[in-house]
Symmetry: C2
Subunit: 202 residues, 2 copies
């Protein structure tokens, strides 16, 4: 297997941390968007959307979308479980992973793409929308702080893909100036716990 | 089990079609947002985000997020498989389901929430962003038409949750005036195929 990677991307980081938590070693190839490598025909043949990451299997089959790559790796390497063990646990992990993604990571990616210089001329920026996403994300972090009170990790006391998603979201948040305010002590303690894991810099 | 439903919502419809395709009967309770039923304490205790659908289990445990509800139902009722059978199939279904959701359904929901009267005063509307999403969705439908050439369904020739997601997205698209142009014959034929299934009006 090979991973086509975008080192700074929160989605690619989700997959890298997932791989590290599984104790796997998968060679990776960094794709340089600034050189347009993701728009070259040989890359578009792997992912016609030109996005990273992509997991290429030994027979050349390509899996795109971070969540799909994580599911595949979990299916073929079930230990340690990062998507839950029982049907109920798996539902709860999926539920929280979606919440972390749709309520926090995606809005932060919108802040980035609609307010950052890097995307000027690459996509149609609507800075006003970026600002709305900033406000919405802060409201969700406030909500989350109440939800995780008394828990070590997002889903009870076990580290799962939901933690990985939030962790990568908050790293992006720092880069775009959206940080959990100091009074959100549960989110703060959770972040120290997640960021202190040996895989956090994968 | 009980399903807390929002009849007009594309996400709730995804779950209803999934339930119908599995041949299950789950009693449902419609939540009326116009009366603020989703913001009442008894509903917020089920989903603190006040969103629908929610699947309540017999012991009172609540599962939120459509994708998590579908995964739970698939785990406890594996036939017919709507999320794939083998690890590779499961990865491909997840990959295509995410693409249908993130590239088409979510942008259409943004068109709806940022340009429709119904959301005025309920959320901060950025009509310009709604219009950008309209353009982006049409570009993705054009891309999709090439991708599914020669296939009966989104993932090869088997109906899966990826079809359900696109189907619900295009129903919403009609409501907000975003339709696949007539020259996208593969998307057109696919939609007739999906909409012709006995579960399509679930």
């Amino acid at each position: 297997m090979k991973l086509y990677d975008l080192p700074a991307s929160p989605n690619a980081r989700r997959v890298r941390i997932f791989i590290a938590e599984k104790g796997l070693e998968i060679p990776s190839i960094a794709i340089d968007m600034t050189k347009g490598e993701n728009k070259r025909p040989e890359y578009l043949a792997k992912n016609s959307l030109g996005k990273m990451p992509v997991l290429e299997l030994d027979d050349g089959t390509c899996i795109t979308e971070s969540a799909a790559i994580c599911r595949y790796l979990d299916d073929i390497h079930p230990e340690p479980p990062l998507l839950g063990r029982t049907p109920l646990e798996r539902a709860q992990v999926e539920m929280w992973n979606r919440r972390m993604e749709l309520e926090i990571l995606v809005p932060l990616m919108q802040v980035f793409s609609h307010t950052h210089e890097m995307w000027k001329g690459v996509l149609t920026q609507v800075p006003e929308w970026g600002e709305v996403c900033r406000v919405n994300t802060l409201a969700r972090l406030d909500w989350l702080d109440g939800e995780i009170a008394g828990r070590d990790y997002i889903v009870n006391d076990t580290y799962t893909v939901a933690d990985i998603t939030l962790q990568c979201a908050l790293v992006l948040g720092k880069a775009v100036g959206v940080r959990a305010p100091g009074n959100l002590s549960n989110v703060g303690a959770w972040f120290e716990r997640a960021a202190g894991r040996p895989t956090a810099r994968a």
